[in-house]
Amino acid sequence: MDNFFSRYKNPLVLVAVLSVQVIALATQVKRAANPKEPNAAETPLIRVWVVNAITPVERVLVSTGHFFRNTWHNYIDLHDVRKQNQALQDEITRLKIEQTRLKEDAEQAHRLQGLLQFKQHYVGDVLPAQVIGSSGSQHSRLIYIDKGEQSGLRPDMAVITPDGIVGKVKDVTRYSATVLLINDRESGAGVVLEKSRRQGVLRGAANGELNLRDIMSDEKIDLGEQVITSGGDRIYPKGVPVGTVSGINPDREDGYSLAIKIKPAVDLDRLEEVLVVKTAEQAPPSTGPAPQRAADILAERLPSIPKVDPNAPKAPTGNAAAAGQNAGPIAAGPKKPEAAAGEPKKPAAPGAADQNKPVADQKKSALPGAPPATHAASATPGGAASGQTNPTANLKKPAASASDTSLAGVSAKKPSAEQKQGTGVAAEQKKASAEQQKKAPTPGPSPNKSAGADNPATSNASAANPKPVPKAPKATVVQTTTGNPEQKPKPAVQTTRPAQPNRPPVTTPGPSQTPQPQAPPPAESSTERPPQ
């Protein structure tokens, strides 16, 4: 060692002196710790050197320590790992179950939120219900809901979802109810094609499909067209989505109509929450004067003699105008059969009634006490839908209404004895009117004249007869009996109803008057007359 220092004394001293000077220099010089960031805070060079000299050593020491520590913990000290692993597996399982439950809750909340929004926007009174079961059979498409009589449910209430109709309540128990799905073969609904506004009857099929019937084969129906409820069945609210047209085929049964396949808007196999329509929202009832007969409305539209009988009692003049204004509400407003029977009113001609009276009303008056039928609109001869296109086609199957009724939950009924009796009463009325006519020598204006005398519908009915006035009473009777075959006649009201005094009678044309041309009778008036 001494030889080393003595031999290299001068270089060692040189290194020592230079080192001292370099260290002294390094304490004065400040340089950025990171040369790539010149704007960083400057650090004395000696500190940079020391840090750069120390940190690698520290890094090596720390890495070595980590190596030994990790080796110990990861390869040696593992006696509780298996137990912890099992506990973690259990925790993962529990969390997965909880996650599934939360996901299910979230989806349910989403659906319920949709139901709530729909309910808030829906004007009628609806009741949310949970689907708790189903029939479990392909032959009976039923579901069970958790609301029953205690919640105010009654049979024939519509069951819908925000997506569309589901079915109707079939049976109600105290705490539950069964819902007959719309695709059951015993179901039916009055629907209308949204674009073409053609009405039809929606029926379920045995295979669970939905078919739309009673659409004539010459109608232009597009695939994908929306189908909504028409509201005429008095079960389903008007305008609720039903589905879309998914297939169009000719009806094999009659060959005149189409069998349109409908894809339901609601996935009927995956129902969870539904809404029961307790009070279907309909158009507001007419608050004006009493509904006026369609025959009166038509009479006002036809030209008439402005001569007024001074002896005739003055009648409220606003009646006709009000009736004209309320033609729409009359057609859309619900009308109870009892209310209609209580009014001194006479059933109008079938064609006119089709324009002003809702189909359901016709059904109501036809079968009082029976649940509202579904397909009266199309099955009734002269219905608003079918009567415009091909009335004869509707006449082809006079018993269609009876069979359609069963689809709406009403059993098919043949013309009842009451109806037959009504027909007999009509004949008697006809005879009485003829006698009354004979007693009246002059067909001039008379305040006691029957209402049918100035009824254009009456004139229409007797258009084939060149003598309109004497035939008027007969036409009145004919109107009574030529309505919907299912309609229940009301002879007492119709025969005793006096002529309305506010309307000048059209009897004998004066010298300055020419006989007014009678409007051509509607085809329904003569063709739909049932056999007497």
Binding site: K9, N10, V13, L14, V17, L18, Q21, V22, A24, L25, A26, Q28, V29, R31, L45
Partner: protein, 174 residues
Amino acid sequence: MNAMVSLTSREEVDVHHFSWPVSFGIPALAIFIQVYLTTKIHFLQIFDMPLLVTIFFAVARRRPIPGMITGALIGTGQDVFTHLPIGLYGISNTLIGYLASSLGVKLDVDNPGSRFLMTFAFFLLHHLSFMGIALLLVGTNQPWEWLHTLVRALANGFLSVVLFAGLDRFKQRM
């Protein structure tokens, strides 16, 4: 016999000693001239008087340790009067003192030609080491004006011949 021994041993023959006033006064005077007179006589800036004094004392003493200490002290004194970090001239002069004293043991540095060449080479080496230290340690980028550096080296070489001849009078035989 002594003369024979001294002639055969250059270290014993040529090693000189300087008095304390000379050892401190000459370097101080060189630094003063370099610091003060250059402000009055601008062309004196071309000379590096402390470096020349360092070379002279290191070569005359022919011992590396005293030579490097002499260079360190003179260089540090020179650094004090600059705005640069202390140690730039110190390190450079230390190296020059060490190399000059080491060279003086093996070569005849009393010849004017060798003095010129030695000073010329040491000036360039000093400048090179100074720039290297300034660049690597301090991080300052000094201009490398090589032509001016060569001229200064030549001027200092010529000056060293005159200066060393005058300083030889302060030598004392060991």
